[in-house]
């Protein structure tokens, strides 16, 4: 396997220009094109979810409920949560970057089931369309959690349509996960053993396990809520001896692991970024690889920490509290290993690296506050306050979204063959970091002081902190709009990237940018470990 960059001939045929027209995109089975389709879809929904967030922050700029009524506010945060989680964050890294990169990283021509891959995009859009339809009809007001008995008996909003949308999108997530699992098991190039895989692939493997094992359970739970509303099959109905808390069990059996569906892929991105920009092999490869699996498995044993105050038994509360502390261990392992990788590395401060460094700080805060919340006694006080809101935003936005953007900046030259402006991208990374902290740090404080979540009005004394938060959200919004602009700009005017603009290690950097449809001219044979920067350097010198 030669590490030499293939020269980039001007009129080379690649996956982008091999075929033209809408049909060639809508019927494509190429994993790279499907990744682009997903990129378009999720960016669209990210924008809509962001719009909802702006309205929420605008309402909360003043203590009185003056911009929207309580009922509208409920619909706003429900739409925000449902869209951001099901339509953006869950598919984000796997369906875009994973889809694009996994076959290339393992030296395959495509995923194991290309048609299933395309189908997953259509299924996703079908579910998303249902949700948008529901939104146009007024939306749901249950929160993204759809808790019974409110969702099943009392809510007068578009619960069924919204929930069914989530149900359908769940299938697309299962399809992606299944495809990845089979691909990683069965399609690896000769010589590419499990412990030579990039950690990005390991992280996606672990993510896929969660998607496959967890999603069906929330699917049935959602289906049962619909059955209760439509058919009187009241599995959670107290009138027939049902227990609404059982819904919470089924819901969180999936939805806690689902938070790892969102964070694990970004951890995979992190491992790639940190090694590439420290020019070093990752510290403790096997620890990082196995910690992904450990997170996937342990993540299934902790869901009860969402039920501490939901009449769950105290014994179960204690069990779940202790088990939750355990998950913090593999997460910490990752952080330590990334930091150790930086140590004595030759670090370069390219844009993706800025995102990576920001990620570490924010993720640590999110994780540590998670451990605080996992402490039974503490959680009773801050449950359902802004403290929780801040906690999960630190992880899902500070972690997962930063990881996604970092990855997008890292692989954009590979995906499009173009470079984006370095200056503006650094500015945007900085704006996002500052804006993010300004938005969400005050929420820790205001939550700790007792401000509950999901209300459109609040006591005057919380205003200063809320105004800070709303101001931060504005900065954050600018930070997100900038990349949208320069990414689109770069597709036409950006400098040509060449095969390996970062001088990074990995199969994807050995093929041209953008890659040809079948990725490799010849099936690669892998003879080296992952992140073998040492050998790469020797070759350069030679």
């Amino acid at each position: 396997m030669s590490a030499e960059a293939t020269t980039n001939l001007p009129r080379r045929v690649n996956y982008l220009n091999v075929d033209h027209g809408v049909k060639s995109w809508l019927l494509t089975k190429d994993h790279k094109r499907i990744a682009i389709l997903y990129l378009v879809s999720i960016s669209f929904f990210f924008a809509i979810g962001g719009l909802m967030a702006s309205l929420i922050r605008l309402e909360l700029a003043t203590p009185a409920g003056d911009l929207v009524q309580a009922d509208v506010y409920n619909r706003l945060f429900t739409a925000h949560g449902v869209i951001m989680i099901f339509l953006f964050l869950i598919p984000s890294i796997p369906a875009v970057l994973g889809n694009f990169l996994i076959p290339i990283m393992i030296g395959a021509k495509d995923l194991a089931f290309p048609k299933l891959n395309l189908a997953s995009w259509y299924v996703y859009n079908l579910g998303a369309a249902l949700m948008m339809w529901a939104l146009l009809r007024g939306g749901a007001d249950t929160g993204w959690t759809f808790y019974t008995p409110y969702s099943s008996m009392y809510a007068n909003s578009e619960v069924i349509l919204t929930a069914l949308g989530a149900f359908i999108v769940g299938f697309s997530s299962i399809m992606t996960g299944l495809n990845f699992i089979v691909t990683i098991h069965r399609m690896r190039a000769p010589g590419l053993t499990w412990f030579r895989l990039p950690l990005f692939v390991w992280a996606h493997y672990a993510t896929s396990l969660i998607q496959v094992l967890g999603t069906p359970v929330v699917a049935i739970a959602i289906l049962l809520v619909a059955a209760e509303r439509l058919l009187h099959i009241g599995i959670f109905d107290p009138a027939v001896g049902g227990d609404p808390v059982l819904f919470q069990h089924l819901f969180w059996f999936y939805s806690h692991p689902a938070v790892y569906i969102m964070i694990l892929p970004s951890m995979g991105v992190m491992s790639e970024l940190v090694t590439a920009f420290s020019r070093k092999r990752i510290f403790g490869y096997r620890f990082v690889a196995f910690s992904s699996l450990a997170i996937a498995v342990l993540g299934f044993l902790v869901w009860g920490h969402h039920l501490f105050v939901s009449s769950q038994s105290i014994l179960a509360g204690v069990i779940f509290s202790v088990l939750t502390m355990l998950v913090a261990v593999p997460s910490a392992v990752k952080v330590f290993n990334w930091t150790a990788t930086l140590y004595k590395g030759s670090i370069s401060w390219e844009t993706p690296m800025l995102y990576a460094i920001g990620y570490v700080g924010l993720f640590v805060i999110g994780g540590l506050t998670g451990t605080m919340l996992a402490t039974l006694g503490f959680d009773i006080h801050v449950h359902d306050t802004y403290f929780v809101v801040a906690h999960f935003h630190y992880i899902m936005v500070g972690g997962a979204v930063m990881g996604y953007l970092g990855g997008l900046h890292f692989w954009w030259p590979k995906i499009t063959g173009r470079l984006y402006p370095a200056f503006w991208s650094k500015i945007s990374a900085l704006l996002i970091f500052v804006g993010f902290n300004l938005t969400f740090f005050p929420q820790f404080v205001v939550g700790y002081l007792g401000m509950p979540r999901r209300y459109h009005a609040y006591p005057e004394e919380f205003q200063v902190l809320n105004v800070l938060s709303s101001a931060g959200a504005t900065v954050l919004a600018v930070g997100y709009i900038l990349p949208t602009i320069y990414f689109i700009w770069s597709m036409r005017y950006g400098e040509r990237a060449g095969a390996n603009p970062w001088g990074a290690y990995g199969l994807e950097w050995q093929i041209p940018s953008p890659p040809p449809t079948h990725n490799f001219e010849e099936k690669p044979v892998v003879t080296t470990e992952a992140y073998d920067y040492y050998t790469l350097k020797e070759k350069r010198v030679a």
Binding site: A108, K109, D110, L111, A112, F113, P114, I174, L178, N179, I181, V182, H185, R186, M187, V212, L213, G214, T215, P216, V217, A219, I220, A221, L224, A227, L231, H232, I233, G234, I235, A239, V240, G241, G242, D243, L246, H249, L250, H518, E521, K523
Partner: protein, 226 residues
Amino acid sequence: MQAESSRAWGLAHHFDNFEQQREASYLGMWVFLVTEIMFFGGLFTAYVVYRSANARAFALGSKELDITLGAFNTAVLIGSSLTMALAVWAAQQGKRKQIALFLVLTILLGGVFLGVKVVEYRAKIDHHLLPGPDFHFPVTEVDEILGVQEGNVEMFFNLYFAMTGLHALHMIIGIGVLLVMVVLALRGSFSRKNHNLVECMGLYWHFVDIVWIFLFPLLYLLGRNI
């Protein structure tokens, strides 16, 4: 790429050979079945939770079911699993006509199962055992003292209809796919080398059978001794 024209028919471009293709679809099917386990798993969890809270009510509900029809259907479904297994066996040897024959037998047995299910459902509806406003179940005084309320029995029927309904839905989908496969088999789409579809469909059908193997005792048998 260069081997494209000389590639065997039925081998997708991104696989190296039939073996890789077969192993991929086989693994994919198994992973799919795991998602099915978890899908039904939610309902089984609800069953276990509610039965552990009120076993007597569940026993009363259970006694309303027709054990003869249930047992008959169990036998029918096991029979259909046998014919499905034989269809796969025929496919492995490229016996085209026999594949079609065994698939048709499987479909017929599946149809019998669903027919019996309709009869059972109709009887439950006639006896006001369909959950909803019309549900009615007289609870004796003794049972009431033992903690049974009408609602608890209704919960049993909630689960009965949810579980058997979801199971029946899987059978209907299965029969639909099997019908397509009969046509494919007659057209000669399956060969000794390339019969993944038959094999994967076989796995699906056996899985549905296994779900019933658990549903039958849970819904029809437990509590008969009370």
